[in-house]
């Protein structure tokens, strides 16, 4: 931070120097923040500041005060840490001094559990790898360009409201969909492009038994010459049949995504009841498996591909609900609970 007031600037430099020195937190606290302290005295001088500069001065003084307080808190933490700990141990050894044989460190004897989400993810990626798809991991912080603009969402477009995004102070985005990687994938790979993108996504919605702000998606991108909507249906159906290990009926119905044209919802005959009607499919016999569509020419163009020559399709589906359905998990909050009563069952 650059202070416009020269006194505050001087003070800031001095505290900076002191923080690096051996002086104790207590000493520095008295020096700056005590009743007669340098900062407190400086603050009393506000009366001498020209009226029109007072607001600015007040603001700067506040920032400096906050800085001093926070730095001293941090320093106190480090000091406390140093005094309250035992003697230096031998970090290169395998155990401490005088550790009896039976108490020497041993790995836990019972094997641990892998999280059901990553188990399912590995299984799914295995299917896609066998179908010839490369894997590209999704970023967890991205920018507006990749999340929206490159995907044919103009700035200020209402379609952006469909994605309840989080924003950092710098206007970066923990991505709300794995499509945030599409532009990178189109640029990185040469057609035929066959890539799946697993990733964590974030939606700004309150958490309850069926809603989570943190979820997992798997995106697919296929681009080549002469790719049709029929090819998309065939490819996705093949994957889903491999995943559920059964033959399925498939159909599509309209949806809206700015980055595909046509935009579709992919439905499959319910693999859990063979369309007899169950709770999972809401007695309809059909399950919404994913959103998909033919990649919009603007998205191809933005990815450096000529839409006159190439066409392709993309899809995205959620992993969390799939894991819940497959395992009969009723409350989505278990997935990020870190609770061993939950994890140890897998």
């Amino acid at each position: 931070m650059e202070y416009k007031n020269s006194d505050l600037k001087k003070l800031a430099t001095e505290i900076e120097r002191d923080l690096k020195s051996e002086k104790s937190t207590k000493e520095l606290k008295a020096k700056y923040l005590g009743k007669q302290g340098l900062f407190s005295s400086q603050l009393k001088k506000i009366g001498t500041i020209a009226k029109e500069k007072r607001a600015e001065y007040g603001k700067e003084a506040n920032t400096l005060k906050q800085y001093i307080e926070e730095s001293l808190e941090q320093k106190a933490f480090t000091e406390l840490n140093k005094i309250s700990t035992s003697k230096q141990i031998d970090v290169t050894a395998k155990f401490d001094i005088n550790t009896p044989e039976e108490k020497k460190p041993k790995l836990l004897s019972q094997p641990g559990s892998q999280h059901p989400l990553t188990q399912e993810l590995e299984y799914i990626l295995g299917i896609f790898t066998s179908m010839g798809f490369d894997i590209e991991e999704c970023r967890q912080i991205d920018n507006d360009y990749n999340m929206f603009e490159a995907l044919n969402f103009p700035k200020g477009h209402p379609a952006r409201d469909l994605w309840d995004t989080f924003w950092t102070d710098e206007n970066l985005i923990p991505p709300a969909h794995t499509s945030t990687m599409q532009n990178r994938v189109l640029r990185k790979y040469e057609p035929p492009i066959r890539v799946v993108i697993p990733g964590r996504c974030y939606r700004n919605e309150a958490t309850d038994a069926s809603h989570e702000h943190t979820l997992h998606q798997i995106e697919g991108v296929y681009v080549d010459q002469g790719i049709s909507l029929g090819d998309m249906i065939g490819t996705i159906k093949t994957y889903l049949e491999a995943f559920f290990n059964t033959e399925l009926k498939a159909k599509v119905q309209p949806a809206f995504f700015p980055f595909t044209e046509p935009d579709l919802e992919f439905l499959i005959s319910c693999p859990f009841c063979a369309q007899a009607g169950c709770n999972i499919c809401g007695k309809t016999g059909w399950i919404e498996a994913m959103g998909c569509g033919m990649i919009h020419p603007n998205v191809l163009k933005e990815g450096g591909l000529d839409p006159e020559k190439y066409s392709g399709f993309a899809w995205g589906f959620g992993l969390d609900r799939l894991v819940m359905i497959k395992n009969g998990i009723e409350d989505i909050r278990w997935l990020h609970s870190g609770n061993l009563n939950f994890i140890k069952q897998f």
């Binding site: 808190e73 941090q74 933490f77 480090t78 840490n81 309250s84 700990t85 035992s86 003697k87 230096q88 970090v91 395998k94 401490d96 001094i97 550790t99 460190p105 790995l107 836990l108 019972q110 094997p111 641990g112 559990s113 892998q114 999280h115 990553t118 896609f128 490369d134 894997i135 920018n143 700035k155 200020g156 477009h157 209402p158 469909l162 924003w167 950092t168 102070d169 970066l172 035929p192 974030y202 702000h213 080549d224 909507l229 029929g230 090819d231 249906i233 065939g234 490819t235 159906k237 119905q253 309209p254 809206f256 044209e261 046509p262 919009h296 990020h336 870190g338 609770n339 061993l340 009563n341």
Partner: protein, 858 residues
Amino acid sequence: MGTLISLNNSKFTIYKSMKVPLNWIRQYTSINLNDEELIAKIRAQLGEVETVENLNEVYKNVLVAEVVSSQDIADSDKLAVYQLNIGENNPVQVVAGDRTLQVGDKVAYFPPGITLPSDFNNVDNNNVVGTAKLGGKESVGMMASAKELDLSNNHKIVMRLQTDKVPGTSFADVMDFNDTIIDIENKALANRADCFGVLGIAREIAGIQCTPFVSPDWYLNPEESITIDSDINLPVKIQNDAKSLCNRFTAISMSDIRVGDSPLWLQALLRKVGLRPVNNIVDITNYLMILTGQPMHAYDYDKILARDTNSKDTVNIVIRTAKKEETITTLDDKTVNLLDNVVVICDSQSPIGIGGIMGGLDTEIDSNTKNILLECANFDMYNVRRSSMRLGIYTDAVTRFSKGQDPNQCKPIIIKAVEMVKELATGKIASDLEDSYLIKREPKQIHISLKRLNAHLGTHFKADDVCVTLTNVELKTSKVSGDEIIVDIPTYRGDLNIREDIHEEVGRLYGYNKIQISFPHKTIVPAKPNSSVELQKKVRRELTSFGADEILTYNFTSQKLFKSFGLNIDYAYHLKNALSPELEYMRTSLLPSVTEKVNENLREGYTEMALFEINKSHNKTVLQEDGLPVELQSVALIFAAGGKTEKSLYSGSPYYMSKLYASELLTSLGVSRCKYNTVDSTDQKQCPLWIKDLLNGLDPNASAVVTTKREKETYYLGVIGGLSSVTKQKLSLPNFISGFELDLSVIKSLTNNSRDYIEPSKYPSVTNDFCFVVKHELRYSDIAEAIESIKPSEVLMNLDIVDIYQSQEQAENQQKQVTIRVTLTPRSKTLTSEEIGTIRNKVISEVTKKTGGEIKEN
């Protein structure tokens, strides 16, 4: 504008669904399917139908009744007793708090035993009509106010029914409530401004039934001019100072207005779509909005004139952006602080409405209004949306304007409104139709190729099929050649811009179910393995086999957690729209979030545990070239033991448990020869920021930075440590707790093509134990390095530590004894006892020389 009171008081979202009564659709196109078939078709070809509703249930037992006689009750100042004809032989007697009813008036009658429509969906307060004694007279059932009928808020008087229907007729029949109302989720229609009106939906329903649709003539071909027919002149002038944000503004004034209730058919339609009837003028603007998607607004002409001290006999409308610190009280009686770039509709001085969002309270239509000003305008969709979000005002008008309405429809719709006001409110035209239209939206043409369309969809459609399908929804087509078709796009279809948009229309309307499933022609190229994904799989497999459990935690953490670990929060991305303070910062390392899960599991009875997570974290000061943070892909593990388990199974510093897990993991991944450096001996310049930061939360005397060397290059793998006493105290953690975090991208780079491997020997190995008494502060690695430095030729040495012991006496002398097992593996021949003796002596002399310790012989 939004003169709307939604029946649904729950939180308004821009993408709420839209109610469409099918009987309303039937006014514009025939429906040849039964409801069930139609709904299935809408789902498959237009959008999700969320709910299907029929109001008949609510209203079927309410009856039309006619007043036969009336008499005021003498000892009451309000009550009157009425005899009602309800279509039965004998009239019923009802007492009411309304003395104004005349013989011959028709009313809605609630027979005893029925639930009030206004309470129909209210589980807690289910008012059932009964028989009671009022003012000493028996009252059987009751007469309905508009509020009790759930039509409006009017509860003062009994609602009069303007109907030809005979007494005893069900009120549901009068109102045409036996109608299927479908609620279409408009998410799939987010780019279809036209489908935010009943006309647009009717056009689509015709299209998916493969029948041609024709828009009403008043919509397609509005009258060119309008004739003033009032004796009074109510002049209007428009000055548009916000041209880029308001492309069109039409307005007209009307005199001789009689404000009153709308006719029942109009009230019924509004009730079906979830709006409350207000009065005939407001209802007309709302009706036209629901019908066409185009919001309108009506002002009281005299109120505008009265408030504007600059204008004498002309209403001067100024469209501009709001000035600094300007405010307006909106129709819902809230004072709004306007912001820059928000479009306001003003008189010559101050705002009377927020453009495209909501009208002002002080020019609202009320029962005394005589003259009105009608507005039908077009506002920039992006600005309406942005303004609505900034002001926090969401109305049905915003929902529609933010989809981008067609400016060409302003004129036909305002003319239609004038016609309706004449008919329903006796109004007369008192000014010219003022029209400020800046950039005319022109119809477009899109050329499509049949071949390309079929290649894109994977279909075999014929040109005629395509043309008929498109023409059905008023997209005129002309065939140029066998392959090329030109499609005329009406201006209300702003969503159709490129040929792929037409492909979608054809696919959707003709039916995606006609598409042949096919497969891409694939060249055989194996998928390239993703080394990062492979490494993560391996880490999971190893750690779970070591008894550790994999968990997932959030990227979002609290300031409190940063403080508990002494981490620098300036490194963390802060969310400006976080869900809660617990989820406000993006983590800069994984270990703290994993640590947070320890206590809950201890409480659940897990007295010893190893929890790990593989994920990413971010530091906002460590950036890539594109300004995005470098993503740290790491694995973090926490080992904790509590209660009796700790005492009976563990001893010494908890650091060693995490070190065991880390070293076992690194070895199995193929990274051996790691160095465990104390914090003091770590190169502050070289050490990555995240490691230095994480050390704040660890015990400085019991933590190590893990490095490895490859060709003189030092790689920083991560950090291991017991948690600091401050952190333990702040998070109420058990005493025996430690953890590690390792950078998987560094590990990946080291193990990409090779691993550390040594060819096993064909000759027998020999083991030798050495016990050295050394200074207390000497490290095992110092001894090990001394031993390794002798490097006997053609013999591999493998070291293991057997014991570290300190007697009382040694403690006083600052000494300890370290027992090391050295395994000698010859490469080229079996070792003789003489050779073994030489090596042994060399080991002893080297260690004593380099460490100042001495050998302890048994």
